[in-house]
């Protein structure tokens, strides 16, 4: 384990940014935190997390896939993929780090999504342990330790210092580059912080939420539950939950006619939208209740069924904070899974 002083972070950032683009949580003018490309003077936010997850770096909201150019009556197909640049995402919380496991399951499975794979290859994740989780946090429900985040490098921040530990080869290589700015140290301070965070986690209002009622094989039990109707009663059908979710991975592929050719691109889609997976025969889920059920059944039942029990929720709490009508996965788990679940 290595450490550096909090004051020296600007130098550390400068060092990292020499070789790769560096993105870190920065407080904006509106007081909200967002990943921002580092430039001299930008400082690491003290807030718990960013409004949007780090998913965008690997799976951006829109991404051009291929272009078609027409000249006369000929069509030329242009591969628009370019070699990804190396980049570092700094300050990712444990929940968000876990979200990449979920995304990897989808995009790196055969057939591999080359767009995503290329970015994963070129991206380094520096994960930061949480010090002050909030009431919407429920990562522990999914077995995530907020105090011991995964990622290529894990870091812990104290009042004055930052502790570094590499977890992967990529991480080790990067940490080596920072040798001049860091020094070797014991794990004592980090251990103490881990303990303190563990105690805090127990105090969180959602500390007792568990997934016992969910997972593979529960489709029949819950699919026709009458509670779906009342839960979805006031759902607006907007895409907020989907678009702030670090694990949602659905996209739509569309063509944009530029007048000179066509750009084929993909963009995030939301299962809450009435035209989600709409085909010539129409949309398979006709009502908002069905769409709402799909979203939560997917996260809590279907995904674990196909992915060795892994849930596609990491408990980051973004949807709890952002849903316009405050309906969310926690309320669903408690209602569908029974109150004893709480």
């Amino acid at each position: 384990m290595r450490k550096c002083s909090l004051d020296s972070m600007n130098l550390v950032f400068a060092e990292i940014a020499k070789a790769a683009s560096l993105y870190l949580p920065v407080d904006g003018k509106d007081g909200k935190t967002a990943y921002t490309k580092w430039e001299d003077g930008l400082t690491w936010s003290n807030s718990l997390n960013t409004v949007r997850g780090p998913k965008d770096f690997f799976f951006p909201q829109t991404e051009n896939l291929v272009e078609f150019k027409t000249s006369g009556k000929n069509i030329e197909i242009i591969d628009t993929r370019s070699a990804s640049e190396d980049f570092v995402v700094f300050g990712v919380r444990a929940c968000d780090v876990k979200s990449f496991d979920v995304l990897d399951r989808v995009f790196l499975k055969e057939p591999t999504d080359s767009y995503y794979a290329s970015r994963r290859e070129h991206g380094i994740i520096i994960a930061a342990a949480c010090t002050k989780p909030t009431e919407t946090c429920f990562c522990q429900t999914f077995g995530i330790d907020a105090a011991a985040p995964a990622g290529d490098i894990s870091i812990w921040k104290t009042e004055t210092e930052v502790f570094w530990q590499s977890n992967t080869e990529k991480g080790a290589a990067l940490l080596t580059k920072l040798d001049a700015l860091t020094e070797e140290c014991s794990t004592e301070a980090v251990d103490a912080q881990k303990e303190k965070i563990a105690a805090t986690m127990k105090k969180l209002p959602l500390a007792n939420l568990n997934t016992d009622a969910f997972g593979a094989g529960k489709t029949k039990e819950y699919f026709d539950a009458p509670e779906w109707k009342e839960l979805s009663e006031s759902c607006l059908g907007c895409g907020t939950c989907t678009f702030v979710c670090p694990t949602c991975q659905c996209y739509d592929i569309k063509d944009f006619n530029t007048g000179k050719g066509v750009i084929r691109f993909r963009c995030w889609d939301s299962c809450m939208y009435s035209d989600f997976t709409k085909m010539s025969a129409g949309q398979p889920r006709l009502t908002q209740t069905e769409r709402f059920r799909q979203r939560f059944m997917h996260k809590l039942v279907y995904f674990p069924e196909n992915n060795d029990g892994m849930f596609s929720c990491v408990g980051c709490g973004r949807c709890l904070a952002k849903c316009p009508i405050s309906m969310n996965i926690v309320k669903v788990m408690k209602t569908i899974g029974g109150k004893e679940n709480a």
């Binding site: 530029t258 007048g259 000179k260």
Partner: protein, 144 residues
């Protein structure tokens, strides 16, 4: 770098009854205006949806002008009165978003005002040319 002479692209929506006829009259009288002005015929200026205006900018227009009958002379009695309100609000909003106000215009041109049509287009094209390329409402995907 080679400096190419900048030619603005201007889309002019003209109502069938007055302004389109005014443009024809400008032609009859051989009153010239820049070829950068391309006219789209609509039945009435009130047929022009704000979406068409934005669409033109997206696709690369540098200026958009609407021409209709003079207020009170609308072939459909009231169409241009609605145009006037809609466009007043739209243009004000574009200005509010920091988009150059000289890029949009509404002008009333009657079928007899061929000279006014040509003069209007000359003036508008000149003003738009002075602003340069439309950057603030451009869609890079549609750039030449």
């Amino acid at each position: 770098m080679q400096v190419k002479e900048y030619k603005p692209l201007i889309v002019a929506f003209c109502c069938n009854w007055c302004s389109y006829a005014g443009a024809d009259l400008a032609g009859n009288n051989r009153l010239s205006y820049p070829a950068d002005v391309k006219i789209i015929r609509v039945p009435c200026s009130c047929r022009v949806n704000p979406m068409f205006v934005l669409r033109a900018f997206q696709r690369g227009a540098d200026g958009v002008i609407l021409c209709g009958c003079h207020p009170g002379d609308c072939h459909y009695t009231s169409g241009n009165y609605y145009t006037r309100r809609r466009m007043a609000l739209l243009f004000s909003m574009l200005d509010y978003l920091g988009i150059e106000k000289e890029r949009t215009r509404v002008e009333w041109v009657s079928a007899a005002e061929g000279a006014k049509f040509a003069a209007t287009m000359n003036d508008f094209a000149e003003k738009v040319a002075a602003l340069g390329e439309n950057k603030r409402l451009e869609d890079l995907r549609c750039k030449r």
